[in-house]
C-alpha cells in the first residue's frame, strides 16, 4: 500500500469509519480527523515531491515523456493490458493539494448537516476518493474508473440534501456528465485499439504517433468529453442549476475540484496524447472558450440568486482554464493549471461563504439582502477577498493565473494565426472588467449600504469552524498570490514534456 494509494484510500476508509460511527455528532469529527490526516499527509508528500523533483528540474526542459515520482505499478487485468499505475508529477501534485484543502474545508463547512449526516459524509468522502484517484492514476482504464466514481455520488448528494428543484438538477447534472464520460469512453477505447500496443499505460501511449486523421476526430471527442465537465460553452447548463440546488459542501467540492477534472483531463490526455489533433482544433476551442469566458461573466451580472451568480462566474473561470489549454504554449498550460488551482480555492471559498450566509439569512436572493457587513464583518471581508481574487486582484491567486493565460494567449504558437489568437485574448481580457462589475455590484448590494431587512440586525458573525474554513482558503490564496513560485516551480517541469511533444 504505497503512499499514493494511501492518499487515494484514506477518504474511503474515513467513509467506512463514518458509516460505523457511533453517534451522528461523532460523524463530523471522524470525517474531520480523516481529512485532517489526509491534509497533513499531502503536505509531507509535497515536501517529498519537491526533494525528488528539484534534482532534475533542469533537464525537465528537454524531456519527452512525463517523469513520474513515487510510482506504484502492478498488473490488474494483465490479459487486457490494464495496470494499477499510480504516479505523481507537478500537475497532479498541485491538484492533489487543492483537493485535499477543499475536502478539509468542505467537511468544516458542512458542520451542521443534521439530516442523515452519516450518508452525507460517506458519499462526500467517496466522491473525493474518485477525484484523488483521477489525479494520481496514469492508466487510462483506472483514470476512467475513478472519473466515473467521482461523478456518481453527486446524484444522491444533490438529490437528497439539495434545495429547490433538486431532483431535476441532480438528474440533469448526472446525465450530462455521463454523456461526457460516454464520449470519453469512445476516445479511450479508440486510443487503446489504434495504438497497436496492448496497454492502457498513458506514458507508453504517448510515444505512439497516431495517424493525423485519426487524431482529428478523437481529439475533439475527448476534449468535449472533458469539456462537458469543465463547463465548455454549450454544455455548461448543468452547472448553474446543479450548483444552485446542491448543498454547500457539495457545490464547494464540485465547482472547486470536480470541474478541474475537465481541465486536467483535457491537458493530460487530449493534448498530451494527440498533439496533431490539438494543433488542428486548438483555435476552434480557443474561440469557444472565449465565448465561455465572456458569456459566463456577462451572464452573471443579471443573476438574482447568489449561487447562480457564483455558478456563472465559475463557468467563466473554467472557460479560462480551457482557454489556457487551447493556447498550446508554455504560459497557456502553466496558466491553465494555476487557474485550476486558484479557481478551485476561490469557488470553494465562495460557495462555503454562501452556505454560511444562507444558513443565517435563509435567502440567497441578492436584492433581499443589504448591509450585512455591519452584522457579520468576518464573512463580509472574506466574501470581498474572494470577490477580489475572482476579478484577478494581484497578491491573490487569481491574478497570477490570469496573467499567465493572457500572456500565453497573446504570445500564440506557430500553428495558429497569431492575430486571431491575439484578438481572442483581448476579448477574454475584457472579462476582468466585466467580472469586476458583477462582483462589486453583487457584493455591494449584499454587504454594503444600509441594512434592508430589519431582522437581519441580530444575525451573528462567523463561528470558529467557519472562521477556520475561510481562514485556510484565504491564506492559501494569499500564499499563491504573493509568492507564486510555490506552485510555478511545481508545475513547470511537468508542463515541458507536453510542450516538447507538441513541438516534436
Amino acid at each position: 500500500m504505497g503512499i499514493l494509494s494511501l492518499l487515494i484510500f484514506i477518504p474511503f476508509f474515513t467513509a467506512m469509519g463514518v458509516v460505523f460511527a457511533p453517534s451522528p455528532k461523532s460523524v463530523r469529527w471522524v470525517s474531520l480527523i480523516g481529512t485532517g490526516i489526509h491534509l497533513i499527509l499531502t503536505f509531507f508528500v509535497t515536501i517529498e515531491y519537491f526533494n525528488l523533483a528539484s534534482a532534475d528540474s533542469q533537464l525537465a526542459i528537454q524531456q519527452l515523456s512525463t517523469k513520474l515520482y513515487m510510482v506504484e505499478k502492478f498488473d490488474w487485468f494483465k490479459s487486457f493490458g490494464i495496470q494499477y499505475y499510480l504516479g505523481v508529477d507537478g500537475i497532479s501534485m498541485s491538484m492533489v493539494v487543492l483537493t485535499s484543502i477543499i475536502i478539509f474545508t468542505g467537511v468544516l463547512a458542512s458542520w451542521n448537516v443534521e439530516n442523515r449526516s452519516k450518508e452525507f459524509f460517506a458519499l462526500l468522502l467517496v466522491l473525493v476518493t474518485g477525484v484523488f484517484g483521477v489525479f494520481l492514476s496514469f492508466d487510462l482504464f483506472l483514470f476512467f474508473m475513478f472519473y466515473e466514481v467521482a461523478v456518481l455520488p453527486m446524484y444522491l448528494l444533490i438529490g437528497i440534501w439539495g434545495t429547490g428543484p433538486k431532483e431535476y438538477s441532480a438528474m440533469k447534472l448526472t446525465l450530462m456528465l455521463m454523456v461526457g464520460s460516454a464520449l470519453l469512453l469512445v476516445g479511450i477505447l479508440a486510443l487503446f485499439h489504434a495504438s497497436g500496443l496492448h496497454t492502457f499505460d498513458l506514458i507508453q501511449l504517448a510515444n505512439v504517433k497516431f495517424p493525423k486523421d485519426f487524431q482529428n476526430w478523437v481529439f475533439p471527442t475527448i476534449f468535449i468529453g472533458f469539456g462537458i465537465l469543465g463547463a465548455l460553452y454549450p454544455f455548461h447548463t448543468w452547472s448553474p442549476d446543479g450548483h444552485a440546488s446542491a448543498p454547500t459542501a457539495v457545490s464547494m467540492l464540485h465547482a472547486g475540484v470536480l470541474m478541474k477534472l475537465g481541465g486536467y483531463g483535457a491537458l493530460r490526455i487530449a493534448v498530451y496524447l494527440l498533439p496533431e489533433g490539438a494543433k488542428e482544433w486548438g483555435l476552434f476551442f480557443m474561440g469557444l472558450t472565449t465565448i465561455n469566458i465572456l458569456y459566463g461573466s456577462l451572464g452573471a451580472i443579471k443573476q438574482k440568486d447568489l449561487k447562480y451568480f457564483t455558478a456563472y462566474s465559475s463557468v467563466s473561470h473554467c472557460g479560462m482554464v480551457l482557454f489556457g489549454v487551447a493556447t498550446l504554449n508554455l504560459m497557456g498550460f502553466k496558466g491553465a493549471v494555476l487557474q485550476m488551482f486558484s479557481h478551485g480555492i476561490m469557488t470553494g471559498l465562495f460557495f462555503g461563504l454562501i452556505g454560511m450566509v444562507y444558513g443565517r439569512t435563509h435567502t440567497r436572493i441578492i436584492p433581499e439582502m443589504g448591509g450585512l457587513v455591519k452584522v457579520m464583518p468576518w464573512l463580509g471581508v472574506a466574501f470581498y477577498i474572494g470577490g477580489l481574487a475572482s476579478l484577478g486582484l494581484p497578491s491573490l491567486s487569481g491574478f497570477v493565473a490570469e496573467s499567465q493565460i493572457f500572456m500565453g494567449g497573446f504570445f500564440g504558437n506557430q500553428w495558429h494565426s497569431v492575430t486571431a489568437m491575439r484578438v481572442l485574448t483581448v476579448l477574454s481580457t475584457m472579462s476582468i472588467v466585466v467580472t469586476a462589475v458583477y462582483v462589486l455590484r453583487g457584493l455591494g448590494t449584499v454587504f454594503l449600504g444600509p441594512i434592508q431587512d430589519k431582522h437581519h440586525e441580530e444575525l451573528t458573525d462567523a463561528t470558529f469552524t467557519e472562521k477556520l474554513t475561510t481562514g485556510i482558503l484565504i491564506f492559501t490564496m494569499f500564499v499563491v498570490g504573493i509568492y507564486p513560485r510555490v506552485l510555478v516551480d511545481m508545475i513547470e517541469p511537468a508542463i515541458y514534456p507536453i510542450l516538447n511533444r507538441l513541438n516534436m
Binding site: 438528474m171 460516454a182 479508440a190
Partner: protein
C-alpha cells in the same frame, strides 16, 4: 464399453436432487412447509458445482460424440448452476405471504426448475443437432409452465403468450436446422462445421437457415424483432421465475447462440458484423428507451434485461478470443447483478403485494440494507465503477472499438447513460422521494439473505479481482483454437 459418465456428473446430480425432492414431498406432512425441499435443492446444486470442479482437465467427449465437455462448457455450467442456485435461495421469500401471488406446490416447483437446469446444462455440452434441440426444448418448455405457476389471470396470460411464441420459435429453429441438415447431411456439430467451411457460401438456403436459426436464438436471447414476449412473460410470471427467466434463460440463449452461431458458423460471421451491430443497436436502444417510462417493477426489469441482451450481442462482432470472453464474463456479471436486484424485488413485491415503482418509497428508511443492495445492483446494471457491471461493459465496448465500430461504442455508451437515467429513477424513489407511511419492515429468511449477499458481493468483487477475466480469456482462446482453428 467405458461409458465415461463421470463427465455428466453435474447433470446427473441435479436430476437426482430433482427426483429426491419429488419423493421427499410425499413424506411432507404440512403442505406449506418448503424449508426441506429448498435446502435439498441448494445442497444438490452445490454438490453439482463442486463435482464440476473435478472435471477440469483436457476436453473429452463421450456417448458416441453426443456429449462433450471442455473448459468453457464447464465455466458456462458453473454460471448456470450459480444463477439457478441463487434463484432457489431467494425464492422461498415468495412462498410465505398471503397474497394470491403465492407460489404453491413448492417441491414440484423446485423439481421442475432443477430439470430445466439440467436441460440447460445438457445444451451446453451437446455436440449434435438432435441433443441440442431436445435439450433446448427441455430447457424451454417447462418454463412455460413455471410462468403460469401461480394460476392467476396475469400469469395465465403470460404463460399462453410465452408458450405460443416459444412454439413458433422452436418451429422456426427446427425448420432452420432442417435446411442445415439438407446442406451437410450429418447432424454432428463438428461434421456440420467442416462441411459448411468447405461448401461455397453463396447458397441461399444457407441464408434461409441462418435467418430461421437467428429467429430461434433471437427468441431465446430476446433480440429486437423477437423480444415481444419477454415484457409480458416477465410481468406475468411469479417474481422468482422472472428472475430465473432473465438470468438462466438468457444464459441459455447465449449458449445456444455460441453453439450455433459461433461454433458452427463462426467463420461466416465476418460479412455480417454490420448486421450484428445494427441488431445490437436496435435491441439496446429499444430496451433502454421503453424502460424509461416503465412504472411496473417486473416489466422494468424485463426491458432492462432486453437492453443487456443488446450489449451482449456486441461480443459476436469478432471471432477473436476477447469477444467470447467479454460475453461470458458479462453473462456472469449480469447474472450476479440481476439476481442481487431481483433478490430485493422478490422480497418487496411478494411482501407488499405492489409491483409499482412508487411502492419502493421509504424502503431506505425501513430496511436500509436491502435498499443499499438494490442500489448497488442497479448501479452495477448501469455500469458504474467500481462495480463489475462497469468492467464488463468496458470489455464489451472495447470489442466494438477493436472491430473499428466507434459509432457503435458511442451509441452503446449513450444507451448506458439513458439506462442510468431510469435506474436512477428507482434510486430516486428509494432515497429521495418522501417516505410513504405504511412502508413496513420486510422480514427475510436467513437463506435469502445469504443468496442476496452472495449476489451483491459477487457483483462488486467480480469486477475487481482480475483472475476471473484472465481465466475465462485463457479457456476461450483455447476453445476457439479447438473449434475455429484461430
Amino acid at each position: 464399453m467405458n461409458l465415461s459418465l463421470e463427465l455428466m456428473a453435474p447433470e446427473i446430480i441435479v436430476l437426482a436432487t430433482g427426483f429426491l425432492i419429488l419423493i421427499s414431498d410425499l413424506f411432507q406432512k404440512s403442505k406449506n412447509e418448503n424449508k426441506a425441499s429448498s435446502i435439498l435443492a441448494i445442497v444438490g446444486i452445490m454438490l453439482a458445482a463442486c463435482s464440476g470442479l473435478f472435471l477440469t482437465d483436457a476436453p473429452k467427449e463421450t456417448l458416441g460424440g453426443r456429449f462433450g465437455l471442455d473448459q468453457l462448457d464447464l465455466i458456462l455450467k458453473e454460471i448456470l448452476l450459480l444463477s439457478a442456485g441463487l434463484v432457489i435461495m431467494i425464492s422461498p421469500a415468495a412462498m410465505k405471504e398471503k397474497s394470491e401471488q403465492k407460489i404453491t406446490h413448492f417441491s414440484e416447483f423446485f423439481t421442475v426448475i432443477l430439470f430445466t437446469l439440467s436441460g440447460m446444462m445438457f445444451l451446453v455440452s451437446s455436440r449434435d443437432l438432435v441433443t441440442l434441440y431436445v435439450s433446448l426444448e427441455l430447457a424451454t418448455i417447462p418454463l412455460f409452465a413455471l410462468t403460469a405457476w401461480t394460476k392467476t389471470d396475469k400469469s395465465g396470460e403470460a404463460g399462453v403468450k410465452y408458450l405460443i411464441m416459444g412454439a413458433i420459435g422452436s418451429a422456426f429453429l427446427l425448420y432452420g436446422l432442417g435446411f442445415i441438415y439438407s446442406i451437410t447431411g450429418d447432424l454432428g456439430l463438428k461434421a456440420i462445421q467442416t462441411t459448411l467451411t468447405a461448401s461455397q457460401l453463396t447458397n441461399p438456403s444457407l441464408y434461409l437457415a441462418g435467418a430461421l436459426i437467428l429467429a430461434g436464438v433471437g427468441f431465446k436471447l430476446t433480440l429486437f424483432p423477437f423480444h415481444m414476449w419477454a415484457p409480458d412473460a416477465y410481468q406475468g410470471a411469479p417474481t422468482p421465475i422472472t428472475a430465473f427467466l432473465s438470468v438462466a434463460s438468457k444464459g441459455t440463449g447465449l449458449i445456444l447462440a455460441i453453439q450455433l452461431l459461433l461454433k458452427v458458423m463462426g467463420f461466416l460471421l465476418q460479412p455480417f458484423v454490420f448486421g450484428i451491430a445494427i441488431l445490437a443497436t436496435l435491441t439496446m436502444t429499444l430496451g433502454n428507451l421503453v424502460a424509461v417510462r416503465q412504472n411496473n417493477l417486473k416489466r422494468f426489469m424485463a426491458y432492462s434485461s432486453i437492453s443487456q441482451a443488446g450489449y451482449l450481442l456486441m461480443g459476436f462482432m469478432t471471432t477473436k478470443p476477447e469477444g467470447l470472453t467479454a460475453m461470458v464474463f458479462y453473462m456472469l456479471v449480469y447474472a450476479l447483478t440481476n439476481l442481487a436486484a431481483f433478490g430485493v424485488l422478490i422480497v418487496h413485491i411478494h411482501q407488499t403485494g405492489q409491483e409499482d415503482i412508487t411502492s419502493l418509497r421509504g424502503i431506505s428508511k425501513a430496511n436500509p440494507l436491502l435498499a443499499l443492495s438494490l442500489m448497488i445492483a442497479l448501479f452495477g446494471l448501469a455500469g458504474i465503477p467500481p462495480l463489475a457491471g462497469f468492467v464488463g461493459k468496458f470489455f464489451l465496448f472495447s470489442i466494438a472499438a477493436q472491430v473499428g465500430y466507434y459509432w457503435l461504442v458511442a451509441v452503446a455508451a449513450l444507451n448506458s447513460t439513458v439506462s442510468l437515467y431510469y435506474y436512477l429513477r428507482l434510486v430516486r424513489q428509494m432515497y429521495i422521494e418522501p417516505e410513504n407511511p405504511q412502508s413496513q419492515k420486510l422480514q427475510i429468511s436467513p437463506m435469502s439473505i445469504l443468496g442476496l449477499g452472495i449476489a451483491t458481493v459477487g457483483s462488486v468483487v467480480a469486477g475487481l479481482i482480475p483472475y476471473i477475466y484472465d481465466g475465462i480469456l485463457a479457456t476461450s482462446s483455447q476453445w476457439l483454437q479447438v473449434w475455429l482453428k484461430i
